[in-house]
């Protein structure tokens, strides 16, 4: 994608006392694309989003949103983006419709527009029936949807989503994903943070992996998976008695072959599609019956393990507050100090 940059982080740094929550992060989000900021709790994702959305002032470095500087042109930035924070920041005492009206008035949007947009957004997010109920009666998923509706009121070309699906059940999660894809189809640029590897894989064009305030990898989901390790060809046989013959056959094409008797599987390190095709052709020519033959790529979980030496969930604490980074300096400073 060769579009202009919608969001730019240029060596962003944020220290809270001795805690280097964000320690020199750079990335670019081209217009109309989706960037997934992936990392465990306490990695600095929320702090990054807060700096880019003018809520937090960087210790050093710069951020640009829609070409505007987040420190020197905060109002222009605020006009160009929408933000859905980690904790659904809706007013619980106001109704869903009133929440939209409040934010509409603060944007200075024309009343008629706010009326129409409220109806349209509540309908889109399946909240029409709950429009006149106080938001405190909403479920977690409904609050998230209302929060997103509020963020979309002024039709921002750039949308920041901080862990949009944390704490949602699988159904609400996939519903939200569908909405986010629609927004992308309309041309919205998304920057979303997530702890879920699957979410980044599902939605993002580019993934930036952050850990302990630093970028540890960046690329498309496919690139990251390739980086984590070679793909492998997995052959599942119909009859266990063919295992030895099959292993010999595969060994002619791959230096590393593993046989698993119980699952009747032969796994071989492979360079890519070429190796798979050659192995498939060899079986085709033999008399060995197969149940399945395929190329297995490492999952993003494997990627994370490979990059950080720990699983994504290891660093996750029970806490799910909006200022996790600021609240728990312990695990973040550890190892990140100079």
């Amino acid at each position: 994608m060769g579009g202009t940059a919608a969001v730019e982080a240029i060596d962003l740094v944020k220290h809270f006392g001795t805690n280097r929550a964000v320690d020199g992060v750079s990335f670019v989000v081209p217009e109309g694309t989706v960037l997934g900021l992936l990392g465990p709790n306490g990695a600095g994702k929320t702090t990054l989003v807060r700096m880019l959305t003018t809520l937090s002032v960087p210790t050093s470095g710069a951020g640009r949103v829609a070409g505007f500087d987040v420190v020197t042109q905060p109002n222009e930035v605020r006009r160009s983006m929408g933000l859905t924070g980690q904790a659904a920041t809706v007013d619980e005492i106001l109704t869903g419709a009133e929440n939209l009206r409040l934010v509409g008035a603060l944007y200075g949007l024309p009343r008629a527009y706010v009326r129409d947009a409220t109806e349209r957004l509540l309908d889109r997010f399946d909240l029409t029936d709950a429009a006149d109920r106080m938001a405190k009666t909403y479920s977690g998923g409904m609050r998230r949807r209302l929060d997103l509706a509020v963020s979309l009121l002024a039709a921002p070309p750039i949308l920041f989503l901080d862990e949009p699906t944390t704490g949602l059940d699988p159904k609400s999660r996939s519903g939200l994903w569908a909405v986010l894809r629609e927004l992308v189809d309309e041309g919205t640029t998304l920057l979303l943070t997530t702890q879920y590897l699957e979410e980044a894989d599902q939605l993002a064009d580019e993934i930036v992996v952050v850990d302990k305030g630093k970028v540890i990898a960046a690329g498309t989901p496919t690139q990251l998976k390739d980086e984590a390790g070679r793909a492998s060809v997995v052959v599942t046989l119909t009859h266990a008695r063919d295992l030895a013959a099959a292993a010999d056959l595969v060994r002619a094409h791959s230096p590393e072959v593993h046989v698993d008797r119980t699952s009747r599987r032969v796994t071989a390190r492979a360079g890519g599609l070429g190796d798979m095709t050659r192995i498939a052709a060899a079986f085709e020519a033999s008399s060995i019956e197969l149940d399945d033959l395929g190329l297995a790529r490492p999952s993003l979980d494997d990627v994370f393990l490979h990059l950080t030496g720990h699983r994504a969930e290891d660093a996750e604490d029970a806490e799910d507050t909006d200022d996790v980074e600021a609240a728990e300096p312990g695990p973040i400073t550890e190892g990140a100090a100079p």
């Binding site: 994608m1 060769g2 579009g3 202009t4 809270f16 081209p30 217009e31 109309g32 694309t33 807060r50 959305t53 003018t54 809520l55 937090s56 002032v57 109002n75 605020r78 006009r79 983006m81 929408g82 933000l83 924070g85 904790a87 920041t89 007013d91 619980e92 005492i93 106001l94 009133e98 409040l102 934010v103 008035a105 603060l106 944007y107 200075g108 949007l109 024309p110 527009y113 947009a117 106080m134 509020v150 002024a154 039709a155 070309p157 629609e182 992308v184 189809d185 309309e186 041309g187 919205t188 909006d322 200022d323 600021a326």
Partner: protein
């Protein structure tokens, strides 16, 4: 529009509505509207300045009042200005809890992510807290009228006393914003404000004359800004005698001193409050 990559744009592109970021007055009044909606939805929020204050009036007027001797005035007349000042001072607790709650829930972040003047959140908060306290003062006034309190010095002085109350309320609101910006939870704010407000409003001439207090305590009480404001209201409303000749200097010049205290408190706490709020909302 030509620079937009169109490879994925299968839906009609976004049409942005015209944004006209509001002035401070419009943004603040929108936030006041929102805060007043909260009071309408949860009238129990007003308990602190209504039922609680009425209980204080009745408690002191009828339970303790008989044993508190006030020279030259009926005790109930003496009491009412004191309770009104106390109600006004409590607006600092109101503003503090409201602000902490909004900070904690991320509402302040939501406001700050919008193109509104930076001060709108605080201005809106302050105005709605003053309205909150004024409702309390109005309830006090009506209760007072029922039990014999009167404004005896005419309309001008009467109104002046209410304006003085608002001015003092404005001053203590900064204390509330300061506390609300520093503390992390609503419970902490309430605990702190309760601990500070009670001695502050009782070690004063609000409920009993200072003459009978031990010398050192009397000194503290008479230099307490709350005493000056209370004395000023009593004088302007004609509720009781002027301060005794041996009372401390602030009570001898209660009206100008009250104005002075309000300005001094604002000068001290407003910068502290603004910088604490900024620091809190920068990170």
């Amino acid at each position: 529009m030509t620079t937009l990559p169109t490879t994925r744009a299968t839906r009609p592109p976004l049409v942005r509505p015209p944004l006209s970021p509001p002035s401070l007055a419009r943004a603040a009044s929108t936030i006041v509207w929102r805060n007043l909606l909260h009071i309408r939805r949860m009238p129990e929020m007003l308990l602190d300045v209504t039922v609680q204050s009425v209980m204080f009036v009745l408690l002191f007027a009828y339970v303790f009042g008989g044993s508190i001797a006030v020279a030259g005035s009926d005790y109930r007349e003496f009491l009412l200005p004191g309770i009104m000042v106390q109600t006004m001072v409590f607006s600092s607790a109101v503003v503090a809890t409201g602000l902490t709650n909004d900070l904690q829930k991320g509402i302040v972040d939501r406001f700050r992510s919008l193109p509104i003047p930076r001060s709108a959140v605080l201005v809106g908060r302050s105005i709605s807290s003053l309205i909150h306290s004024s409702i309390g003062v109005a309830v006090m006034g009506l209760t007072g009228l029922l039990i014999g309190w009167r404004i005896r010095n005419g309309v001008v002085d009467g109104v002046l006393a209410f304006l003085l109350l608002l001015l003092f309320g404005f001053a203590v609101i900064w204390l509330g914003i300061w506390v609300g910006s520093i503390m992390r939870t609503v419970e902490a704010v309430q605990g702190f404000m309760f601990t500070v407000m009670f001695p502050l409003t009782f070690v004063a001439n609000t409920f009993a004359p200072t003459e009978s207090m031990p010398t050192w305590l009397r000194f503290v009480a008479e230099w307490n800004p709350i005493s000056a404001v209370t004395q000023a209201c009593r004088e302007l409303w004609g509720n009781g005698l002027p301060a005794p000749a041996d009372a401390a200097w602030p009570l001898q010049h209660a009206v100008p001193v009250s104005v002075g205290w309000s300005l001094v408190l604002t000068a001290i706490f407003a910068p502290l409050a603004v910088s604490a709020f900024r620091r809190r909302s920068r990170d």
